[in-house]
């Protein structure tokens, strides 16, 4: 589904990602872990098409297409969704209105009719129950005045309504209390399918107890320094990240 090859990314004058390689197949869940500032969000945003990052080398293919040639809205329409680490407020625009416009844009791309008002309402209701989200939140303006946890939950609610093929969760777990975490994880798990892939960016092994990844990758200073199974997450939780740093440094020294 997704293949990233030797991806180099700059923000401003600074290179942040120094050659990332990653392959994600449909049905898989990949977790990306790594210390603050290692470039996790940068990678997530580049996948979603943020143009403030400059890709200086490398390729990304998504379903056989050159993703870097595709505008962000078209990526969304082709089934890519990123849950933001810092969801953005859009004052005065109701959540439902926003979601309906998004859903219709995606449906249009697929050659489908605009969603019928009643069907939309039912869909929203169903997903609201799935994520135990309050109706009041849904009718309020997008993220305006939402608490940190509410914003995160709203991202997953959007994900559930839009049903993307590739979902990227950027630290959705930070800021969620333990009950909310379970609800969100349950929501994500119920969306898991053989046609859908997830990239779960996180600092904590905790969420991976609920959303069990097939692969764990460690991003350190703009490079994937280690990949493994879910065991790796547990190991990281115990030892932290610094030993990986030493490992790469010593590996470089040996070379």
């Amino acid at each position: 589904m997704l293949e990233i090859k030797d991806l180099h990314v700059k923000a401003g004058d600074k290179e942040i990602l120094h050659g990332i390689n990653l392959k994600v197949k449909a049905g898989e869940v990949h977790s990306i872990m790594g210390p603050n500032g290692s470039g996790k969000s940068t990678l997530a945003q580049v996948l979603a098409g943020r143009e403030s990052y400059e890709v200086t080398a490398g390729q990304i293919t998504y379903e056989g297409k050159d993703l870097l040639q595709i505008a962000p809205e078209d990526r969304a329409r082709l089934g890519i969704f990123m849950a933001f680490q810092y969801p953005v407020e859009i004052p005065g625009v109701s959540n439902t209105y926003f979601l309906k416009a998004a859903l219709n844009a995606i449906r249009k791309e697929r050659g489908e009719e605009e969603v019928d008002a009643l069907d939309f309402l039912n869909l929203v209701k169903e997903k609201m129950e799935l994520l135990k989200i309050d109706e009041k939140l849904i009718s309020r303006p997008v993220n305006e005045g939402f608490s940190g946890g509410e914003k995160k939950r709203n991202e997953i609610f959007q994900l559930a309504v839009l049903e993307p093929k590739l979902a990227i969760l950027d630290e959705t777990d930070s800021g969620l209390d333990i009950d909310a975490l379970k609800v969100v994880a349950h929501g994500v798990n119920s969306l898991r399918s053989k046609d859908r892939a997830f990239i779960v960016v996180t600092h904590y092994q905790r969420i991976l107890n609920y959303i069990i990844p097939d692969y764990v990758h460690v991003l350190y200073d703009g490079r994937v320094v280690k990949s493994g199974g879910k065991q790796l997450a547990i190991e990281l939780e115990k030892k932290g990240y610094s030993w990986l740093g030493e490992e790469t440094v010593s590996a470089q020294l040996v070379n």
Binding site: E51, A71, V88, I90, A101, L103, A105, V142
Partner: protein, 481 residues
Amino acid sequence: MPTETKQIQDLASQEYKYGFYTDIEADSIPAGLNEDVIALISAKKNEPEFMLEWRLKAYRHWLTMKEPKWPNVHYPPIDYQGIVYYSAPKKKDSPKSLDEVDPELLETYRKLGIPLGEQELLAGVAVDAVFDSVSVATTFKEKLAELGIIFCSFSEAVGDHPELVKQYLGSVVPYTDNFFASLNSAVFSDGSFCYIPEGVRCPMELSTYFRINAKNTGQFERTLIIAEKGSYVSYLEGCTAPMRDENQLHAAVVELIAHDDAQIKYSTIQNWYPGDDEGKGGIYNFVTKRGKCLGRNSKISWTQVETGSAITWKYPSCILLGDNSIGEFYSVALTKKRQQADTGTKMIHIGKNTRSTVISKGISAGHGQNTYRGLIKISKSATGARNYTQCDSMLIGDQCGAHTFPYIEIKNSTAQMEHEASTSKIGEDQMFYCQSRGLSAEDAVSMIVNGFCKKVFKELPMEFAVEADRLLSVNLEGSVG
């Protein structure tokens, strides 16, 4: 951001869709202004003597005045002798019913999306259509008359209800008020008149659509609305004009009078031709609008959505005379291309416990310049007066400007004032958030802007809120390549 810059550059290139011109035979007088011209206008309209006298007083006063230079707008000098002060679609007699209205005119209004046949009308909206200088059709007149409501063109009111006109004309905006109001008083040719008798709640929206068609013609209309004790009326005004290379002057006057417990809600959707990308052509919209809350517990609300005109210059205001009276001003002003707007309100608190609310949303794109200018005046007598002002500006791109000039005069220490102001840019983060959900950049801009204006739109009558929303989106079209 490359896309953002592009959007901004393209924002100017939106087409004006009401720019067509109707080829209709007009009865126009030669350009220029003097006492004879005024007498001619008055004669063409068969006015009683008092009207001509009033016009001439206004004209003589106007001659002593200078064009104001204080607004934050720039334009070349206007040649007042180059303007045609009267132009009317030619007709034998004034039409008795819609069937007698020139089909060409009806077609024009249909193109504008304003059907004048009563059966085609939006249920619950009565329309007065003003073409160049005269009212061409007023709908639902009989139905309203059953309730004692008078809704007709200004000329008809002068003929049929001279006592009301005499009593109220100039009572809120005197002919000496300001340069453009004086000019209007001298030469105004028509407009709408509306009288709601005591205790009557007007059952439908009353609306006037203004259209400037003829070349080099100024439009000087006058609207007078009187709401007697305990009555209610909601009134809407819409405006369009053909695309022309020359600037055209629109200097209107609106006077509202609310007696005890009466309420007037006045909404404007102004979409005059804004001029082209280089700032050539477009309407100069220099308008004086003022309401007087004469009675206790009376209320006047102004809601305006200003998207057109090369230059907009107006301050719909409220004089809060009656105790406990309320004044409100809700405004959205969008400037793009080379448009300039200097708009805001004046709330003059005189009565006790008078309250006012001002919500202004200015949006600037392209090379647009948007100025909010507002005065809150609390007189010595206005014990317990309160005002809330919120004044927000949004910038799209970096070649436009937003300016705020709030003036506050307080002569009574019991006054409570609250003022909030903000300036924001459409953030790259907001744009990206919308786009990452599948919305095109264009839809994202229009959604963010509409959200920004929500507080004002919700004050508009339902049908028109939808129209305003659409108008804003259309005006922001071309914001992305």
